[in-house]
């Protein structure tokens, strides 16, 4: 790689070294080991981090990582990708608003409908849903009839979610002018979500790998989070999601994610394009 005429070395990272780094990270941060993630992804991220740290080789980086809590945090942050947008894949949100939510509401009459956004990043997804609910049912009913829980492993991104302050581009690109007008107020260049929508969403730090902690839910959005996990972990997580969903409960995956074959016995496809599945 050539940068301003200077040659930047690509550090070579062997499997053992990667393992050593991840074990160190798990020990020091108390987070679970990152072995559930796709190795190629993790490796790319670690290599990128090593390069940016200015360390000349992996050994040096390991020492640095051991000494510097800041670097550990940076590595953890760089291990998760937080790309998200309001109303990412707009057609999905249309389908949710026009088909899925009305059907679910009818089914769960008499008790609040529980929605769970898994891997919520900085809140773009759960807030988009909250906006839909306010639009469809009004603030009052939305607050009484729905419970939106949003979880993520990364505390920093959750803190951002609690702030609910977003850049116009690209985060708010999918928000129509009317919605922007109605639900956001401008604050020196950024946009702040109105409290009425904000209060509909509860955030909680949670690791998707700890399947025993899963809450009950009628609708689970688990989009663009499983892509970072390897197949066995994906299957484990999806099995656990099937366990907490009631019969005919809805699961939504990301647009480039697919239902692994062994799980098709537990989930029926409702909409292959939008990746909407129902618990068999």
């Amino acid at each position: 790689m050539e940068l301003f005429g200077e040659q930047v070395a690509q550090p070579e990272l062997s499997c053992d070294q990667l393992e050593a780094i991840l074990v160190l990270l798990a020990q020091q941060t108390g987070l679970p080991l990152f072995d559930a993630y796709k190795e190629s992804c993790v490796k790319r991220r670690v290599v990128a981090r090593i390069r940016r740290s200015g360390c000349l080789d992996v050994e040096q980086y390991l020492r640095y990582l051991q000494q510097d809590a800041g670097e550990r945090e940076r590595l953890v942050t760089s291990l998760s990708i937080h790309v998200s947008q309001f109303f990412r894949n707009p057609t999905l949100f249309e389908t949710l608003q026009t088909v899925v939510l009305p059907a679910l509401v009818q089914r769960t009459a008499g008790r609040p409908l529980r929605i769970w956004s898994v891997g919520c990043s900085a809140g773009e997804e759960p807030y988009s849903l909250a906006i839909l609910l306010v639009e469809s049912f009004g603030e009052q009913v939305a607050g009484e009839q729905f419970e939106i829980l949003a979880t993520d492993i990364d505390r920093r991104t959750l803190a951002q979610a609690e702030q609910a302050l977003y850049d116009a581009d690209p985060t708010l690109r999918g928000v129509s002018a009317a919605r922007r007008e109605r639900f956001f107020t401008e604050q020196d260049g950024s946009f702040k979500l109105c409290p009425a929508v904000q209060q509909l969403v509860r955030f909680r730090q949670m690791d998707l790998q700890l399947v025993a902690d899963y809450p009950q839910a009628d609708l689970v959005l688990c989009r663009n989070t499983l892509i970072y996990f390897n197949r066995p972990a994906q299957e484990k997580i999806l099995q656990a999601l099937a366990d907490i969903l009631p019969q005919d409960g809805i699961l939504v995956l990301g647009k480039s994610e697919s239902m692994p074959a062994p799980l098709r016995a537990r989930f029926a496809t409702l909409d292959p394009t939008e990746r909407i599945y129902s618990r068999r």
Partner: protein, 428 residues
């Protein structure tokens, strides 16, 4: 010729001292009173000293003030002009200072020019990188959409494969069912065929028995005929006996009449004749009974014969039925055997079908695996794309900051005015 400032001062001082030394004789030569002469001497010395001092310091002060002014301008950020001292035949340190300051200004000018050029280039480059990052973001998003499309294909494929696999498995199950039913019906057919065979055998036996029976009826009929003729013959004998008895009776009657005629001598004979007549009577009577018996016997045997014939007729009717039954059994056996054959071939066929559906399930599983792999690979690409998107967003952010930095730098160095357009220095 360079004359250092110190020398210039010494020179001036020597000149003033010389004037003070040489003035009194000159002034006294004018012939004024000594008081006046003394006064004049002082005045002349002072005047000459002042003139010489002014002459010396004027140039120096002017040079210094020019230098001060220039330094002030530089401190204000104006690097546009060099200091130009008036030409002199005797340059001193001020000229050297001027040259040094000019050099400094020139260096500053170069430096600022450099910085200005570099910051402009930096701003340009970072804007360009920002633009590129945004572009890459856009194309990455496009890639992401394409991947979503591919993934949709993969998902649909997986879905279809899953469905066809289910259908094939269901079909396999029903084929298995068919095979087992076919085997069952083949077994039933075989059993039926065996039963029918037994029935047919029984019918055959019955026919044989009937044939036997008819033959016996036939001999029986012949025997009856024989019996009849014999009975007739017996009847005739009985009739003859009756006739004989009647004639005997008549003869006995005649004899008894003769005995009566013979009187006392015929008395014994009359008894015998009477006995004979009695015997003839009972014989006749017995012969009559025999004839009656024979008639009854004939009637009875006739009846037996008739009922024999009757049952023979009935049995003949029955034989027809048994014949039909035997035929039906044969037909049943034939069709049941056909059924068995067909059921067997169905079983064989469905066995084959079962095997090929097993192969199909295998193939579909293989396809499913490929589809699954495809989906996984697409996911992987998607993860990488997402990563790239994140990196590009970071980069866009970083370059935006870089642009701001460059602008800031540019604003800072803009305080310096450079007169001539600065030639940009390449940063290599």
């Amino acid at each position: 010729m360079r004359v250092p400032l110190g020398y210039k001062f010494i020179l001036g001082f020597v000149a003033v001292v010389a004037v003070v030394a040489f003035a009194p004789p000159v002034v006294s030569a004018l012939g004024y009173s000594p008081g006046v002469t003394q006064f004049l001497t002082i005045v002349v010395a002072l005047t000459v000293g002042l003139i010489m001092g002014w002459l010396f310091s004027r140039r120096f002060a002017r040079n210094i003030s020019m230098l001060t002014e220039s330094a002030h301008e530089v401190s204000q950020g104006d690097l546009s002009c060099d200091i130009q001292l008036p030409p002199t035949s005797m340059p001193d340190e001020t000229h050297e200072l001027t040259a040094a300051i000019n050099q400094m200004i020139q260096n500053l000018r170069d430096l600022v020019g450099h910085i200005r050029g570099s910051s402009a280039k930096l701003a340009g480059a970072s804007k360009e990188i920002n633009g590129t990052a945004v572009e890459i973001s856009a194309s990455t998003e496009e890639v992401a959409r394409a991947i979503e499309q591919i993934s949709h294909g993969a998902e649909t494929q997986a879905e279809l494969v899953e469905r066809s696999s289910r259908i094939i498995k269901e079909t396999a199950i029903s084929i298995e069912l068919i095979a087992s039913r076919a085997r069952e019906s083949s077994r039933c057919a075989r059993e039926t065929s065996q039963t029918a065979q037994r029935g047919s055998d029984l019918a055959g036996d019955a026919l044989l028995l009937m044939k036997d029976f008819f033959e016996r009826i036939e001999t029986l009929s012949a025997r009856f005929d024989q019996l009849n003729t014999r009975l007739q013959r017996v009847g005739k004998v009985a009739d003859f006996i009756g006739e004989v008895a009647r004639q005997t009776n008549l003869l006995a009657l005649n004899a008894s009449i003769e005995a009566v005629r013979a009187g006392e001598y015929g008395k014994g004979f009359a008894v015998v004749a009477d006995e004979v007549r009695k015997l003839a009577d009972s014989t006749s009577h017995s012969a009559g009974e025999i004839t009656d018996l024979i008639v009854t016997l004939r009637d009875e045997s006739q009846k037996v014969h008739e009922s024999l014939l009757e049952s023979s007729r009935t049995i003949r009717e029955g034989k027809k039925n048994v014949d039909i039954t035997a035929g039906a059994f044969a037909e049943i056996i034939a069709s049941v055997q056909e059924t068995e054959r067909r059921a067997n071939s169905i079983a064989d066929l469905s066995q084959m079908q079962l095997e090929s559906s097993g192969k199909m399930v295998h193939a579909v599983d293989e396809i499913a695996k490929v589809a699954d792999d495809n989906a996984a690979a697409t996911e992987e690409v998607s993860a990488a794309t997402e990563e790239q998107l994140a990196a590009m967003q970071d980069m866009a952010l970083a370059t935006r900051e870089l642009t701001q930095l460059a602008d800031e730098l540019e604003r800072l160095v803009r305080r310096f005015t450079l007169e001539e357009p600065v030639e940009l220095v390449e940063t290599a």
